[in-house]
């Protein structure tokens, strides 16, 4: 291919791509920043699907403030640099708010830019409770904080599972899992329990035989083991622990909210697993049922994980805020969002009642028995 031909091809591709953007007009634009390629794509891609679905449903009912909602999906390739430039791109396209991400690292690259511009950023999946403190008053979280979900499962461990001595496995390479463990252990100690063993692994690890051997040898014996992991290691750890013959309860946070926790071990081994998560799975509230049906209709498959519902809620929350604000303005939207009370999201009710600006949402404790999920209880934080 000659050089000139290549150049012409490149130009054509460029104009073809940008041309479609020139068509937009009189819409309310939202910048959806997600990692659609790279290591985080299994978590973020369903979230974008959820976000776009919500926009579509809202537009079918007439839109927001008389205008259509447009969700601009930007792929930031599991790369912080791309997150920063992606945020700039969204801002340059005149979005009224940004949403996205399931992990604090990328929120921290993108959200401060929105804060500086005076536009809200709503994270659908990042759960660190100090995010609003770090970014500023334009930062909003759709999910609960890691402290709440850890306290929930810790309470369950001690009160319902009657476990006094707990072993804790932590994925040391992710801030999410480390925070989870930190809060969990603090709560266990508060309730009079003891952490008999602390062990570590890393994201991407496939083999837990050393940790299992140490767990077996722990003295005093552990009544339960808390595995602070993300979905990739969730199924593997359960499978290997059960295969080693250990029947003690395995507990965790929303990192275990994945099909892998039942499919990888199989129905015989997926037993006595408990995790705290967003109130969505196995929930029969009308919002949940409607969401699952709509998702299946649109994408021809059930929602892959809770992040799909969270992405759906992020757009819904912003739209609700816009309606209450009455105008398409950054500060007004921000104030409206901060005043959100009882917004019925698919993943629970959202109210920003606490000074930390972390929503006081219910936490579902879900059990897995013989490969079946069941909601054991819904834990509510202090408002």
């Amino acid at each position: 291919m000659k050089r000139t031909q290549l150049g012409v091809l490149a130009l054509a591709v460029f104009f073809l791509g940008t041309g479609t953007l020139w068509a937009a007009d009189a819409t309310i634009k939202l910048g959806a920043l997600y990692n659609l390629t790279g290591g985080m794509s299994s978590i973020d891609a369903p979230a974008l699907n959820g976000a776009k679905l919500q926009a579509k449903l809202i537009n079918e009912k007439g839109g927001v403030l008389g205008k259509k909602l447009e969700v601009i999906g930007i792929d930031t390739k599991t790369d912080q640099k791309a997150a920063a430039t992606g945020a700039q791109k969204a801002l340059s396209e005149g979005v009224i708010a940004g949403l996205g991400y399931g992990d604090t690292t990328y929120v921290m690259a993108a959200a401060p830019l929105f804060q500086k511009k005076g536009l809200p950023f709503v994270t659908s999946g990042a759960t660190h409770p100090e995010l609003p403190k770090w970014v500023g008053d334009y930062m909003f979280m759709v999910p609960f904080g890691d402290d709440d979900q850890s306290f929930a499962i810790a309470d369950f461990t001690v009160k319902k599972l009657n476990a006094r001595n707990v072993a804790v496995w932590t994925d040391n390479s992710m801030d999410f899992t480390k925070a989870l463990s930190k809060f969990y252990m603090a709560r266990i100690k508060e309730l009079g329990g003891t952490v008999v063993l602390e062990d570590f692994f890393k994201m991407g690890d496939k083999d837990f035989s050393a940790q299992i051997a140490r767990l077996k040898a722990a003295s005093p014996k552990a009544d339960a083991v808390f595995v602070s992991a993300i979905p990739n290691e969730a199924g593997l750890s359960v499978k290997q622990i059960r295969e080693a013959g250990l029947t003690l309860p395995i507990v965790s946070g929303d990192g275990f909210d994945t099909e892998l926790v039942t499919t990888v071990p199989g129905p015989k081994l997926a037993n006595a697993v408990y995790f705290s998560t967003h109130t969505y799975r196995e929930d029969n509230r009308p919002e949940v049922v409607a969401f699952v049906k709509a998702y299946e209709k649109e994408y021809k498959k059930p929602p892959e994980n809770a992040f799909a519902a969270l992405g759906f809620d992020a757009v819904g929350l912003i739209a609700d805020g816009l309606e209450r604000a009455g105008k398409v303005d950054g500060k007004a939207l921000r104030d409206a969002l901060a005043a959100t009370k009882g917004y019925k999201a698919v993943t629970g009710e959202i109210t920003y009642s606490r000074p930390s600006m972390v929503p006081a949402k219910g936490v579902s404790i879900i059990s897995v028995m013989n490969g079946k999920y069941k909601v054991e209880e819904v834990w509510m934080p202090k408002p």
């Binding site: 291919m1 921290m108 480390k178």
Partner: protein
């Protein structure tokens, strides 16, 4: 032995660059500016790696490790004492320091250079793929240390809320410094010994080139600029985490050096610009078709096509003729180096 190239070309280029930067800062929006800033930082990285990999022929995958060291040192030094106390548990003398940008960057670069010396003394007796694995090991060791040394680095969470100190003037300034130094090295006798070493180490040794010292020097100089680039990066994104400087980034920079032509400074800059800007150009395509991943595939295709038609890279080992115009020696055009290695 100096080449007599028209001085005014250099002056014109530099002034033109200054004017361009001034114009861009004034006129362009934040999005374009952020892209150009990143392009500039990648150019610094490519030029610095070109010195290590290109001139000296060392297959080093450890560059992001130097970036990480430089980045973290710079960030820790510029953080206000109050934030330092909030995030980290540093020893007394460090906890109180708060430096302006330039000294912090220099400190970051110096830390990276020091590490490079230590690393080089240990592993630079290796060569080829063995060196690649050793430098990869260095990178992973640095990453693991950063992840776990929470009192100093805050672990996986990293440092955020850094002051957005980087702007186009800083990036451009450091890029000029990197290019200037590389150019001086390349057309000096030191640079010629490096190139000789790359082409045929045995012959070079016979001619009295101290292989080991030359390699360590190449690694150290490259590391300095990588460290500075790391500091610039941290204050552009305003956040720094252990995962930022990964093996994948090492591959990206090696790609830029190879596509530009190992040993060509101009090539490194051109390739850096091409690759960092290209993903943004392909982005609208991805978004309109909602087929995420297409940009990466197209980039890989472009890369493959370039390499098929120009296996030695866009510029080979040479610099463009108008910059090296001179009556006698043109080291780049020597038949042995023009092939671009074996």
């Amino acid at each position: 032995m100096n080449l007599r190239r028209p001085r005014w070309i250099w002056l014109a280029l530099a002034l033109g660059g200054v004017a361009a930067v001034g114009l861009a800062q004034a006129a362009w929006d934040d999005y374009l500016l952020s892209i150009v800033n990143f392009v500039g930082i990648y150019a610094i990285l490519a030029v610095s790696l070109n010195l290590t990999n290109g001139f000296a022929g060392l297959f080093s995958l450890g560059h992001p490790g130097f970036m990480a060291i430089g980045g973290y040192v710079t960030a820790i030094l510029t953080l206000p004492a109050s934030r330092k106390a909030m995030f980290l548990a540093l020893p007394g003398w460090l906890a109180g320091i708060e430096l302006p940008f330039l000294p912090a960057l220099l400190a970051g670069g110096a830390a990276a250079t020091l590490t490079a010396f230590l690393l080089g003394l240990s592993v630079l007796r290796l060569s080829g793929h063995y060196l690649a694995v050793a430098t990869m090991g260095f990178l992973i060791i640095v990453q693991v240390l950063i992840e776990n040394w929470e009192s100093v680095t805050r672990g996986p969470l990293g440092l955020n809320g850094l002051a957005a100190l980087t702007d186009l003037w800083w990036v451009y300034g450091w890029l000029l410094a990197a290019i200037y130094l590389s150019w001086k090295v390349k057309f000096s006798s030191f640079g010629r010994s490096m190139l000789a070493m790359r082409e045929d180490s045995l012959a070079a040794q016979c001619l009295g080139v101290n292989l080991f010292r030359t390699r360590v020097a190449a690694l150290a100089i490259g590391a300095f600029f990588a460290g500075v680039a790391g500091g610039l990066w941290a204050h552009l994104v305003t956040a720094i985490t252990p995962g930022t400087f990964s093996l994948i980034m090492a591959f990206n920079i090696v790609v830029m050096v190879v596509v530009g032509g190992t040993g060509s400074i101009t090539g490194a800059v051109v390739a850096a610009v091409l690759f960092s800007a290209a993903t943004e150009i392909f982005r609208p395509l991805e978004e309109s078709f909602e087929a995420y991943g297409i940009a990466e595939i197209l980039m890989a295709l472009v890369l493959l096509v370039i390499l098929i038609y120009r296996p030695s890279g866009l510029f080979g080992s040479r610099e463009p003729a108008f910059l090296t115009a001179g009556p006698t020696h043109k080291p780049g055009n020597h038949p042995a180096t023009a092939k671009g290695g074996q």
